[in-house]
């Protein structure tokens, strides 16, 4: 290929590329925020679950707060390891509108172990019981712990699969969700 042929090819490709960019300009498709899915950028799938004391929490009713939905089980070592950091961050940020919903995967755990666990770690945020695995299915959970950081508009800002999360990581994700 001669030099002039190459340069002509480059120019044609660059013009076609620029035209393709302008042809696809403006996000015309339905934004992901209108779809509920367990992935960053989407609306967090809504659920209602009860605490062991019988109090009901509905995720959508917490709009206006930054929410951490943390799926866990008492037998899961990284879940246990990250609980003190979650409690510490909850104490620090709850006045700014940060809420923790610690969803116990009760379908694969023993409900009897939960009170022992919460008193062992002095947990003060709500512990919810996912007795039929509805939230695990809705959030397509494949590993425990799985954490979903949700902003004040109800949009998932970050998903952290596995753990334990460090204080610094929690702080970074919470501050982003609180913006």
């Amino acid at each position: 290929m001669t030099q002039s042929q190459r340069i002509t090819l480059y120019i044609l490709v660059l013009i076609a590329g620029a035209a393709w960019i302008f042809l696809n300009a403006a996000p015309t498709d339905t934004p992901t925020v209108n779809t509920a899915a367990p992935q960053a950028g989407f609306t967090a799938p809504d659920f209602s679950l009860k605490t062991p004391q019988g109090e009901t929490y509905t995720l959508s009713e917490l709009k206006g707060n930054a929410v951490l939905v943390n799926l866990w089980a008492t037998w899961c070592p990284p879940c246990r390891a990250e609980m003190p950091a979650i409690q510490k961050m909850y104490n620090e940020y709850k006045d700014q509108g940060f809420v923790v919903l610690a969803v116990n995967s009760t379908i694969q755990d023993s409900a009897l172990e939960i009170p022992i666990f919460t008193s062992e770690y002095s947990l003060t945020f709500p512990i919810l019981l996912d007795e039929v695995g509805e939230v695990s299915r809705m959030y397509q959970v494949r590993s425990l712990p799985s954490s979903y950081f949700i902003n004040r508009l109800g949009i998932i800002t970050e998903v952290v699969i596995g753990g334990p999360m460090s204080e610094a990581l929690l702080r970074a994700r919470i501050e982003e969700a609180l913006k």
């Binding site: 340069i7 480059y10 660059l14 960019i21 696809n24 992901t32 494949r142 590993s143 460090s166």
Partner: protein
């Protein structure tokens, strides 16, 4: 099949695909290194330092961007969370470290980049597969028959488009006749990869738009494409004058 693949490599196991791609890529790059005037040892060393700098640089870049947070929780700097990572900062640090190593060892930049092209090429295949496993870099909703069910909608399988484009680029470059001009192989890879991203990005459902309506990644891909063309032409000119 897709469900099985996604279950098998669901996060955080999707990282295995990246590690496997890096290993296969390096093995293939080693096989051809001497064709480009680089010894296997030099190639291994530059990749080792580059990867080490990638890991450390990604962590440092994340920490620097969130310095106020890490001043409150300094132990987080050395925590095992892979999420404390900035991939762009990581790539920049890896490039700088590899460049410094290459200069100290008197390695030619273009010969080294050509020798590393199979590594980069296989890595892009691994990135596409890891996107597929994690469900990230997902496509727009579609009614086309090959749409995949992901995040509660039928979507363009952009991760598969990305993987197939990378496979095609690898095939083209691996089986093409070796160019006597150093740098041409790498710059061709760079131009083809940028062009494929420029095209595929239009089908992504998670794009970021700048200047109100323009797709940020498409603009970056276009700039890389233009730079690759310019560098290709300069390489052709230089090797013609010297050779």
């Amino acid at each position: 099949m897709l469900t099985l693949f996604r279950n098998l490599f669901s996060p955080p196991r999707h990282m295995i695909l990246l590690v496997a791609a890096a290993w296969i890529g390096l093995t293939l790059a080693e096989k051809r290194a001497e064709r480009h005037g680089i010894s296997k040892d030099e190639l291994n060393n530059i990749t080792f330092y580059g990867l080490l700098a990638f890991v450390i640089g990604g962590r440092i870049s994340f920490v620097l961007q969130n310095i106020s947070i890490f001043l409150k929780s300094p132990s987080g700097i050395i925590s095992i969370n892979p999420d404390i990572f900035d991939p762009i900062g990581a790539a920049a640090v890896a490039f700088i470290v590899a460049l410094i190593y290459g200069q100290r060892r008197n390695l030619s930049l273009w010969h080294t980049l050509d020798a590393l092209t199979p590594f980069f090429s296989i890595l892009t295949i691994g990135i596409g597969l890891s996107h597929l496993a994690a469900g990230t870099a997902f496509g727009k909703e579609t009614s086309l028959p090959w749409g995949i069910d992901l995040w509660n909608a039928a979507r363009h399988p952009t991760q598969i488009y990305e993987t197939l484009a990378s496979l095609l680029i690898f095939g083209l470059l691996w089986f093409q006749k070796q160019s006597p001009r150093p740098g041409i192989l790498f710059l061709t890879f760079s131009a083809l990869t940028a062009a494929s991203h420029l095209f595929i990005e239009a089908f992504r459902g998670d794009s970021v738009f700048i200047f109100d309506s323009l797709n940020r990644n498409q603009i970056i891909a276009w700039v890389i494409l233009a730079t690759s063309f310019l560098a290709l032409e300069l390489r052709f000119k230089k090797t013609k004058n010297t050779g």
